[in-house]
């Protein structure tokens, strides 16, 4: 901040513009940060609790038959569901105990990249005025569909 003030004195017109822009950026940045944090932190807590009460196991059991349709072993549902609830780092962690072929890693990565961190990112989507829940459902379906289509296309080459 002290530096900005110095600049403003050195060159009044250019410096005051600089100072005004920096201050506006700081103000908007902090306001946006606070706006998002208010929603993301409770969403993060909800995701952690869901994981603790065994939601991953239940959802993975439901998703396992779908996995086989899109060219993945049923057990790949576990990292995918971890990703839905938590994030991509959880996907990578949960992938480690499985032995997947390079093709299966790519398909799982594709599905997870489209649908991950649904609760926290759903909160961000909600903040823009859209439905976080509807977009969460869309992302799950679209992630599985994209992996299924990629699996078919890979079979052609």
């Amino acid at each position: 901040m002290a530096l900005d003030r110095g600049d403003a004195k050195a060159a009044p017109s250019e410096g005051s513009r600089l100072r005004r822009d920096v201050l506006a950026g700081l103000r908007i940045g902090c306001a946006t940060f606070w706006d998002l944090a208010k929603l993301m932190i409770p969403a993060y807590l909800a995701a952690l609790v869901l994981q603790r009460v065994g939601a991953v196991e239940v959802l993975a059991k439901v998703a396992a038959p779908v996995m086989r349709v899109i060219g993945l072993p049923g057990e790949a549902a576990v990292p995918l569901v971890f990703g839905w609830i938590l994030n991509l780092y959880a996907v990578i962690g949960a992938m480690q105990p499985l032995t997947l072929s390079p093709r299966e890693i790519t398909l799982l990565a594709l599905a997870a990249l489209i649908s991950h961190n649904l609760i926290v990112e759903g909160a961000v989507i909600h903040r823009t005025g859209m439905s976080g829940v509807a977009f969460g459902i869309l992302r799950v379906i679209a992630g599985l569909a994209a992996a299924g289509i990629a699996n078919q296309l890979m079979g052609l080459f």
Partner: protein
């Protein structure tokens, strides 16, 4: 107790990462938004995504989200939706595109690092996001028109 500890450390790193990116990015945006280079970049990008239905004003937050992530792009969406009154259709298109593909740099790299194919997760995924945006954008337009017609009749 274990849950609380994980929540505390996780929240701290989430908040810190968000703060360290959102605040400097907003300052940089305020500083460079008026510059010729920034405008040129946004205009180029808006030409690429224009055929998906994005306006030039919506193209900028979409580009930030595409490269750096939904949280950062989302922050700018929230700001610009307020500032420019982007309209529901533009925000819907952005949410569609960014929900399919965002944080192209960080997210792709961490999965390429564990062995995923760059072609499928970068090229195919971007094409997929464009297709979904186009298809659902058109479906939403048709739905809104149909509702309006039904409302009148």
């Amino acid at each position: 107790m274990d849950l609380l500890r994980e929540f505390a450390t996780g929240s701290w790193s989430l908040l810190w990462k968000m703060f360290a990116i959102v605040v400097p990015m907003m300052v940089l945006l305020e500083l460079f938004e008026g510059s010729r280079a920034y405008r040129g970049m946004v205009r180029g990008w808006s030409r690429i995504v224009g055929w998906l239905g994005f306006s030039e004003q919506t193209a900028a937050p979409t580009l930030i989200g595409f490269l750096f992530g939904l949280v950062y792009g989302g922050g700018i969406i929230v700001r610009d939706a307020k500032r420019h009154d982007l309209g529901r259709r533009q925000v819907f298109l952005m949410a569609l595109f960014l929900s399919m593909v965002h944080a192209m740099i960080e997210d792709s790299l961490i999965l390429i690092a564990v062995g995923a194919s760059a072609f499928w997760i970068v090229v195919f995924r971007t094409g997929w996001a464009a297709a979904v945006t186009l298809a659902l954008g058109m479906a939403a337009t048709a739905w809104v028109r149909w509702r309006r017609r039904k409302g009148r009749g």
